[in-house]
């Protein structure tokens, strides 16, 4: 990766499909299942993760010369915790009603594996600008995953989109239940695999979630 740096467009788009953090890398699954009962919640957490990812990647890349490799993980964690605290306070101040529903998960962004793995795999070895673009791409991929799962669950489970009622039918209550989140992610993951098969790629070897 560090030998021939990928182009900006690759950096920006690979998070969307081929290396989608939720559906492909199977990282940061907790929020994807937990807060996607409505598009609005998903959007909020997605935006929070987006900013934390971009800012943390940037910070880690700027300070990489001064970070002793032996203690890099604690240092990365502190950097993330710093930006999460900032995001947490901003969201609590400006969007109190949505924050009430997803507040705990915003705080838990600290423990999301996707952010620290991008810092470790990319930002620690690359200059500031590509690291920022990589952060943007991964953040966008996460945002897309949250929106997709949120839209699916809200549309079928509640018959609405973004709080506006769209279709009139007996909603599938199952999908807004805790269990529905698991089913949704499982189905969307399978869909990603299916699209990959249609495009003529071989399926990635069944990889368990890690980290």
């Amino acid at each position: 990766m560090s030998v021939t740096p990928p182009t900006v467009s690759v950096l920006l788009t690979r998070g969307l499909f081929s290396e989608n953090p939720v559906f492909r890398l199977a990282l940061s699954l907790c929020p994807a299942v937990a807060v996607t009962t409505a598009v609005e919640n998903g959007l909020m957490l997605g935006i929070a993760v987006f900013f934390v990812q971009v800012l943390s990647s940037m910070t880690a890349s700027i300070f990489k010369k001064w970070i002793n490799p032996k203690i890099r993980i604690p240092v990365y964690t502190i950097i993330i915790a710093l930006w999460v605290t900032v995001m947490d306070m901003l969201l609590a101040a400006y969007f109190p009603s949505t924050y009430e529903k997803v507040g705990l998960y915003v705080k838990l962004i600290v423990a999301f594996a996707i952010i620290i793995s991008r810092m470790e795999l990319f930002a620690a070895k690359n200059p500031v600008l590509p690291s920022t673009f990589d952060g943007v791409g991964m953040g966008l991929g996460f945002l897309l995953a949250m929106l997709l799962a949120g839209a699916f669950r809200e549309l079928l489970g509640n018959g609405s989109f973004f709080g506006y009622p769209l279709v009139h039918f007996q909603p599938l209550f199952l999908l807004v239940l805790p269990a529905g989140g698991f089913f949704t992610i499982g189905l969307i993951m399978a869909l990603f695999n299916w699209v990959d098969l249609l495009r003529g790629n071989t399926l990635p070897k069944a990889s368990g979630g890690h980290g």
Partner: protein, 278 residues
């Protein structure tokens, strides 16, 4: 404050004589909801204890909640709360089964799907996690109660708790390697994974937001650990079987694991409403 305790769903035993106090001056409220008064319907001397009074109320009381009873004329207040054992058992049970952290709060999923491919790894992770969760819950509570809260530094919660967890994991890794090398060889890899488990961070955050006391805090961390271990074990049993089943290729691996987790979550809904104490 004098002693008072719950006798049954509608009766409270108070340790002083209230039979001559007018009934309408007795005020019973739940501690968090001071505006909603619970009406008292009867006051009678207790049959068993001398000088004690049994108060009967109209609503059903909750054995796990805190209440305040005050008598205006006597200028006295009684606090009624669950006993330590009640609190411990109900908190552990609630964290492990009713509000299982994996199946109803969806926390710790990355590790959950990562280590449940084999039963051995699931058990190893479950044991290690329960121990570390208990320790980190204990230390975080002490840290929050004696350092963050008195200094009004609660906005630093996230950084402080993740610091506690990271230090604890690093420390137990080094200590275990030195003292019990065999144990370390068996459980060392799971220790490292724990830092990225959201449950370990969620427990102190939940405790801090609820202003939980010491017993409640350590019970919650204990229950969270046990619940996680239970979830890991169940899931690994199911996944070992599915490994041999004819699953459609696009569903193989993680997608089908998610569907299984969904089914488990559905069955865990059956625990909601479970109560041990009247």
């Amino acid at each position: 404050m004098d002693n008072a305790k719950l006798l049954s769903k509608t009766q409270i035993l108070v340790d002083s004589d209230l039979t001559r106090v007018p009934m309408h001056t007795l005020k019973l409220v739940q501690q968090d909801e001071a505006d909603i008064q619970i009406p008292v319907v009867a006051v009678a001397p207790s049959a068993d204890a001398e000088g004690a009074t049994v108060i009967t109320v109209a609503d059903k009381l909750d054995a796990e909640a805190h209440y305040l009873l005050s008598a205006r004329e006597l200028g006295k207040t009684w606090a009624i709360g669950p006993s330590i054992t009640t609190l411990m058992i109900s908190t552990i049970l609630s964290a492990a089964l009713i509000n299982n952290f994996v199946f109803t709060r969806y926390l710790g999923l990355c590790v959950f799907f990562g280590v449940t491919r084999k039963k051995d790894t699931a058990i190893g992770m479950g044991v290690t996690f329960t121990v570390v969760a208990f320790l980190s819950g204990l230390i975080s509570w002490l840290f929050h109660h004696f350092a963050l809260a008195p200094l009004k530094l609660e906005f630093l919660q996230i950084i402080a708790f993740i610091g506690v967890v990271a230090c604890l994991v690093q420390a137990s890794d080094s200590i275990l390697r030195k003292i019990r090398p065999t144990l370390h060889r068996k459980f060392g890899i799971y220790l490292v994974l724990i830092t990225t488990n959201c449950i370990i961070l969620a427990v102190p955050l939940l405790n801090a937001s609820k202003h939980a006391g010491f017993v409640e805090s350590i019970s919650l961390s204990m229950g969270a650990g046990l619940g996680f271990a239970l979830a890991l074990f169940l899931m690994s049993c199911a996944r070992e079987k599915v490994e041999l089943a004819p699953v459609p290729p696009v569903f193989r691996g993680l997608p089908v694991a998610f569907i299984i987790a969904g089914l488990f979550a559905l069955s865990f809904l059956g625990f909601s409403g479970l109560k041990l104490f009247f």
